[in-house]
């Protein structure tokens, strides 16, 4: 392989590969790759895929490694492909409102580049300072503004892809509309590198982001905050963000940054609204009314932008703050908005039943909850209980008409949950599509779905499922 590619592309020394072996899903297993390759062009990716085809070696594409499901975790004997050297914004076209980028472009860097043209790339995962567009597309990443503006798939117009057969193809289009053939572009989005290797992305852009108002609510329980979320949805208000941060998160941020948040509320709801003018003012007041109606101990439209920004910063700090307490098993269920309070109540009961600390941050306006199960370092009994709680939370989400993953993807951690959600009929369709587009089973095998009846399956199986 090193002979087929220019010098410097292939890493094989174990110590230089260490940083490429897994993503941020601490609990997902990972293996020892044969090599890490850092291509600089689509042609080099094709060369690599063809080498993998010839030698029947699994190939694991990787963005910045901020994933939370193990989707980018190395398999034993695999080749990990890192797109860090394919990081150029190739084109921004203001008239057509689109940008063309290589997969290694960092999300925030694209947003900044678009802003220079008066344009906005909305999808804003919490990992936006580090995660890449390629990884965002592979996982169909969400974020805070999705509640109004949609997820990554809603912004992907076209893709350049190296197929499982080693061909370079272009899927999708550059025009505003188009129905020539099947929507293979949408199919590739969220397929976690299992159906093709993405080498270029054309994204749709919006006009500059409108100014936002912030509405803050304090509640004496997460369930009460959940009732407010359901009330906002029932009132027909569409916020540009609606985030929930519970007492465990507030306390962890306070312990780290001394912000004094946990003294003021058990749970905080942070709403944003960007409808312009008087209509936006009315929506903000309606949101305050919804908060109060659900029992907020305090609720108001923020008049202090600095204070409002500090609260959103605290929300972003919640995850790293909790990680300081011990290994975090991250959940990502999504339920109908009306079921948010019931789901939060069930998570509380699950925490008690399994004697675990489960913190909650949530894109609450989407019904997308992130229960974070924290166990003391080195406590194997707690880890075992955490895994049972993890599956119990998935079952509760399904029971309430929800999904096991709202935005983090299936990877390894959610494979079993996904199988419960989809059932055998839909799983059979997944296997048929996987086999159709990756007939030799070399593309990230064992992630999302297993590969039936091909040699790659055992490689995937050895690491599948929570350890």
């Amino acid at each position: 392989m090193a002979e087929a590619l220019p010098e410097g592309r292939v890493l094989t020394a174990p110590e230089s590969m260490d940083g490429y072996r897994h993503d941020d899903a601490e609990w997902a297993p990972y293996g020892q790759p044969l090599a890490v390759v850092r291509p600089r062009s689509t042609a080099e990716v094709r060369t690599l895929v063809r080498w993998c085809l010839e030698h029947r070696v699994p190939l694991v594409p990787r963005g910045a490694g901020t994933g939370l499901s193990g989707g980018a975790n190395a398999l034993d004997g695999s080749v990990v492909v890192s797109f860090e050297a394919m990081d150029r914004v190739l084109e921004i076209d203001a008239g057509e409102r689109l940008a063309v980028v290589q997969p290694g472009v960092v999300n925030d860097d694209l947003r900044r580049a678009c802003a220079e043209h008066g344009l906005w790339y909305p999808p804003d995962p919490a990992s936006s300072p580090w995660s890449t567009i390629g990884g965002n597309v592979a996982t169909n990443a969400g974020g805070m503004c999705c509640v109004k503006y949609g997820v990554t798939r809603d912004y992907v117009l076209g893709l350049e892809v190296v197929t499982g057969g080693g061909e370079i193809v272009r899927l999708g289009r550059r025009t505003a509309k188009g129905v020539a053939g099947y929507d293979l572009c949408s199919l590739l989005v969220g397929s976690e590198g299992t159906l093709g290797v993405i080498t270029e992305v054309t994204v749709r852009l919006r006009a500059r982001r409108p100014a936002e108002r912030t509405v803050v609510g304090h509640f004496d329980s997460a369930v009460a905050a959940g009732e407010a979320v359901a009330a906002v949805a029932a009132a027909g208000v569409v916020p540009s963000a609606l985030e929930l941060v519970d007492r465990h998160c507030l306390a962890a941020v306070d312990a780290w940054k001394n912000m004094g948040l946990s003294a003021e509320a058990d749970t905080v709801l942070l709403g944003r609204l960007d409808t312009p003018g008087a209509a936006g003012d009315a929506e903000a007041e309606l949101m305050v009314d919804c908060f109060r109606g659900a029992g907020a101990t305090w609720a108001a439209v923020s008049t202090d932008q600095q204070e409002a920004d500090a609260l959103f910063d605290a929300r972003r700090l919640a995850y790293p703050a909790l990680e300081r307490l011990g290994p975090v098993l991250t959940e990502d269920v999504c339920v109908p908005r009306a079921k948010v309070p019931e789901m939060l109540a069930r998570i509380d009961r699950t925490a008690a039943a399994h004697d675990l600390l489960i913190a909650n941050i949530a894109h609450a306006g989407d019904g997308n909850l992130h229960p974070l199960i924290i166990t003391p370092p080195g406590d194997d009994a707690a880890r075992a209980r955490a895994q049972r709680a993890f599956e119990a939370i998935l079952d509760d989400a399904l029971d309430l008409g929800g999904t096991v993953t709202g935005e983090h993807g299936v990877g390894l951690l959610k494979r079993r949950g996904m199988e419960r959600e989809l059932g055998p009929g839909v799983l059979a369709l997944h296997h048929a599509v996987k086999t159709a587009l990756d007939p030799h089973g070399i593309l990230n095998p064992g992630k999302v779905v297993g590969v039936q009846g091909v040699t790659a399956e055992p490689v995937g199986e050895t690491i599948a499922g929570p350890v």
Copy 2:
């Protein structure tokens, strides 16, 4: 088959099947079906699919037959499935902003039902008084408000489908977000009945539609109007509609309805803007400036709602008005917005070169043009020239970075154009996916793509391509 289904479901008398043999694509070929079936439940559809599997009989799903590419045209010896008796709105959930409907629900009927709950189902094909949600989903229908609000796929949350293997499955979800597995739901949208039979649709809804302002521009050529469209895009204005109606359409409407439109302008641009408040007023003035800068002979924000509505009515009447002049071969190319004037100029040259009348209506703000090639009834030489012009227009659209079909679908008329657009690598992926999801080739064979190496292929081939 009649034994397997309740009485009255199966029609076999030729005269009772006549109305089910083709859609509105006058130029696409069609065959003589074996039977027409009007199921009343998903279970009946499954029974039918299983019967077709057992007897290797092709199955052609059909909405209201308003398609313009021949996608619903009967094949010789096929079973046509009409969903006219599965026409119930099953649920409207205001809090979750979604509706669940059977495929035979008429587009405007769903819009009306949603409006009663203060909600809005945006996709608005010109066929909305007749076309059904099932057909809209199968073709990923567009419409006038797509330029701001997106197409049918953007509103499909979930589907119930009978697969090519005769199983009932649910794809997609009811939650705001979800990434559990591949996006097979989006894959089915726009697949024209070739990958599964849709038996239920869950659509996303928006809050009540905002009030719109209308901006009208008169131009002395379609190309000048095209320049205005490109200027609007370059200025960053996002209209809620931007429609172009040329002199041939205006004259045809006048000849039918005596509206006096063609005396005032060669080409009319009709813009709508629904941004509320002062921001919307400013956008409307900016659109007027764009119209004037591109050479409008007259441009203004309409102050007469009745007059504005009459103009949009005229736009809707353009197609039936032209059909009164002779058979219409309907184009549906979509190009980048900046290329609209160049594409319109090329269409003019194509009309002259082939000695044809080509009228233009367009969802111009999307770059989605509908050149309408009209030939005198019974003039076979003109029909032959029209077919050459049809392919020439597709080639020009591709040359300008566009697509052969913006919203009407591939059906039969665009198969050759689609093959030129996609190229062999992407076509191979299409065949792989088709074979994976319809292994026996019974689902609307010969539409969109042929089926490789299975018995249904010759049936498709005998009618494929313009006659």
